[in-house]
């Protein structure tokens, strides 16, 4: 199976290790992975700020780059959410194709590859930070507001990892407060939300916080590093690919 790896711009620039982990993981699971070298950004940062119109050339470029592929996989729930729900470009046919074929990494492992067994070891106490776009936007798990049977794609995958112990914060899926430009425009609010989230993780006894979204982790890690809190932050791909 050929898969195009979509590497969101901020992961490309700041967290290449996450993209490498996603690449390793997909290849180990038997996918032929292509990385379109002309890719840039899906346009989410601009569109969420209210500039979807300005972002149209960016989105059109995205569609051009990824339209030739059957599967497009990204290690970022929020970018995939944007692609699925807010992508706009003139070529409606191509847009629809790209929207239907773009998957968040864990969702791809679960729905398309139907992974049953992950070979990885990570003997640490881990808390999952559910990114809002992944959880409520893409349905990677049951949001706590919903009265339906509980499930969690990410936790199911992590439970296959040797030695990994899952711990849960008291508020299962509270937002970390990143929110794109919200993090700067409503800085005080964003910082406070992140702080509360960190306190909850520490209270739960977590050593490592993992997420499907590096953007949430960038914010949380930024706060934790400033205060030298004893927490590590890893993308779920890194653990599944065998990081330590």
């Amino acid at each position: 199976m050929t898969v195009a790896l979509f590497v969101p711009c901020y992961i490309d620039q700041f967290y290449p290790r996450v993209a490498r982990a996603a690449l390793t993981l997909l290849e180990r699971l038997g996918c032929r992975v292509e990385v379109p070298l002309d890719q840039t950004c899906c346009g989410q940062p601009l569109a969420n700020a209210g500039f979807a119109r300005e972002a149209r050339p960016v989105m059109a470029h995205f569609v051009r780059v990824f339209a030739p592929y059957d599967y497009i996989v990204a290690p970022s729930g929020s970018c995939v959410f944007h692609v699925r729900h807010h992508l706009e470009a003139d070529d409606a046919e191509a847009v629809r194709h790209v929207q239907q074929r773009t998957y968040e990494l864990c969702q791809f492992l679960r729905e398309v590859l139907q992974v049953e067994r992950i070979e990885a070891r990570f003997p640490h106490r881990v808390a999952v930070h559910d990114s809002c776009h992944g959880l409520r936007g893409l349905g990677l798990g049951r949001p706590s507001e919903r009265m339906v049977p509980a499930y969690s794609v990410v936790r199911d995958l992590l439970r296959q990892v040797d030695g990994l112990e899952l711990v849960e914060p008291s508020r299962p899926d509270e937002c970390c407060g990143f929110g794109g430009t919200f993090a700067v425009e409503e800085e005080a609010m964003s910082v406070r939300m992140g702080q509360d989230r960190l306190d909850d993780f520490l209270q739960a006894g977590a050593e490592v916080v993992v997420s499907t979204d590096m953007s949430c982790l960038m914010h949380l890690e930024g706060l934790a590093r400033r205060q030298q809190l004893p927490l590590r932050f890893l993308h779920v791909a890194e653990i599944l690919a065998g990081a330590d």
Binding site: V7, D12, Q13, F14, Y15, P16, A19, L23, V35, P36, L37, Q39, T40, C41, L46, A47, N48, A49, G50, F51, A52, R53, E54, A55, P57, V58, H61, H85, H86, C132, H133, R136, G137, P143, S144, E145, M147, R171, D173, C175, G177, G179, G180, T181, F182, A183, V184, E185, E186, E187, A188, M189, S190, V191, R192, M193, D196, M218, G222, R225
Partner: protein, 466 residues
């Protein structure tokens, strides 16, 4: 926001920053509302068909809003047949005028009023007071806010932002009772004072939670019974309702009553649910049907679903921003997530920051008993207000970013420059006052090589470029 005409804009970010500065108070406020959210979770979990109910409620509302004209006419005919007098108000001014006229022609000087967000929206209290009519709010929370001469900070629990000691001090100052009364004693004081007002009142004003088109019935829900006391004692009852409060049939009511109380406070039902079918002998009942921008919103293809709102307040209790910024940071009659999509519909310029007062986490959408896609509407409102109101400089920055991100070459060069700067520039420049991210947070550390650079070097030869 320099270089930019000043309008009386609600600056949510600044107001929220001020609220959040009192760390201890924020923690208290957040925890209090989170408790209400947890109560709601427990109550909703007890209903196996909860999600089915939400879907039904949403569809009933969509239906009634689609045929609103017909249902309004049906309601009017039925209500009149029952002896309820029906009035139509195009806007807030008309509503206030109608209510005042009804009171003035009957020489009413004293009115008791139960909870109604609509009369808040119309500014009825100051309007009547300026014309020499005494209006006493009888919901305890609203009474407290009235004594403070402040608007509610939450649509269901108007004084939730006040602590017990603050209420005790207020009662001491305004009602002359001893300081430091317990909550029970405070309620007893309020009850005694209000009872006198109920007995003296010559008219009662209430809101309307639901109006049934099929029967012409008005339904009012309260936990304190204050609406009932008011409208049963007074010879004149005026009910003010937004035209979107209509539901088609009496059998539909059960769907909404089961959702409303559980979503609002985690109760199975509100304590008092009163149906007003026909006036008792000697009493006049009037209903004022208020549009005030609602029919215009009904015509907005993207935003009409906000009219489904039954004002349960659940989205406020779940919203991580509202819980930590308080109701007043929205500068709006209806604060919180639903307010952030309602208010720009009235005045996009004034409320243009509200669609940004959110991390778009979507919790409001999942909690909403009538399934309003609040976060998606916030996104859509940003597309409306963003380009219209942001300062020139930011607009230029957005255009520039789009130019960079639309071209692989420019993207590569900009990325290199950015990473180089993050690695090489001295800390004192990187964390200068311009850096809103860096005041409390470290910037991510920048690697020497981007992923795509690494891939091009080590792997690209193996992969044919498409």
């Amino acid at each position: 926001m320099e270089g930019f005409i000043e309008l009386p804009v609600v600056d949510h970010a600044r107001l929220a920053a001020r609220f959040v500065a009192d760390a201890e108070r924020v923690q208290w406020h957040d925890a209090l509302l989170w408790q209400v959210r947890l109560k709601r979770d427990r109550a909703a979990a007890e209903v196996p068909e909860w999600e089915e109910l939400r879907r039904l409620a949403s569809e009933i509302k969509a239906h009634v809003l689609t045929y609103l004209d017909r249902y309004l006419e049906q309601f009017e005919a039925q209500a009149r047949a029952c002896g309820i007098q029906v009035h139509w108000a195009r806007d807030a001014a008309a509503h206030n005028r109608i209510v005042h006229e009804l009171l003035a022609t009957r020489h009413v000087r004293r009115v008791v009023k139960s909870k109604s967000m609509l009369t808040e929206e119309c500014g009825l209290n100051p309007y009547l007071e300026a014309r020499g009519i005494e209006v006493v709010d009888t919901d305890l929370g609203e009474r407290i806010m009235q004594l403070l001469r402040q608007p509610p900070s939450h649509i269901v629990t108007p004084a939730i932002h006040l602590r017990r000691e603050e209420v005790a001090r207020l009662f001491h100052e305004k009602l002359g009772v001893p300081e430091n009364l317990t909550p029970d004693e405070l309620v007893a004081v309020a009850r005694r004072v209000l009872r006198q007002k109920f007995l003296e009142a010559e008219a009662a004003i209430t809101g309307v939670n639901f109006a049934v088109a099929e029967t012409g019935t008005l339904v009012v829900c309260t936990n304190e019974g204050n609406a009932d006391l008011g409208m049963h004692l007074a010879p004149v009852h005026i009910a003010a309702m937004g035209i979107e409060k209509l539901i088609p049939r009496l059998v539909d009511l059960g769907v909404f009553l089961r959702l409303l109380a559980r979503s609002a406070t985690g109760q199975p039902l509100t304590v008092y649910t009163t149906h007003i079918g026909r006036p008792r002998p000697g009493q006049e009942v009037h209903v004022v049907l208020v549009d005030n921008g609602r029919s215009r919103r009904l015509g907005l293809p993207r935003f009409w679903p906000a009219l489904k709102c039954i004002r349960c307040g659940a989205c406020m209790n779940t919203c991580p921003v509202y819980r930590r910024s308080g109701g007043y940071s929205y500068g709006a009659t209806v604060p919180g997530p639903i307010g952030a999509i309602l208010m720009p519909g009235y005045d996009a310029a004034r409320y243009r920051t509200l669609p940004y007062a959110s991390s778009l986490c979507g919790s409001c959408r999942e909690v909403c008993p009538v399934q309003i896609d609040i976060d998606e509407q916030l996104y859509a409102w940003r597309q409306e207000v963003g380009p219209r109101y942001v300062p020139r400089l930011k607009r230029l920055a957005m255009r520039l970013a789009a130019r960079v991100l639309a071209s692989p070459g420019r993207y590569r060069r900009a990325g290199r420059l950015l990473r180089w700067s993050l690695r090489r520039l001295p800390r004192r420049i990187l964390y200068g006052p311009w850096n809103g991210w860096g005041r409390a947070r470290e910037l991510p550390s920048a690697p020497a090589e981007s992923f795509l650079e690494w891939y091009r070097k080590t792997r690209a030869s193996a992969t044919a470029q498409r």
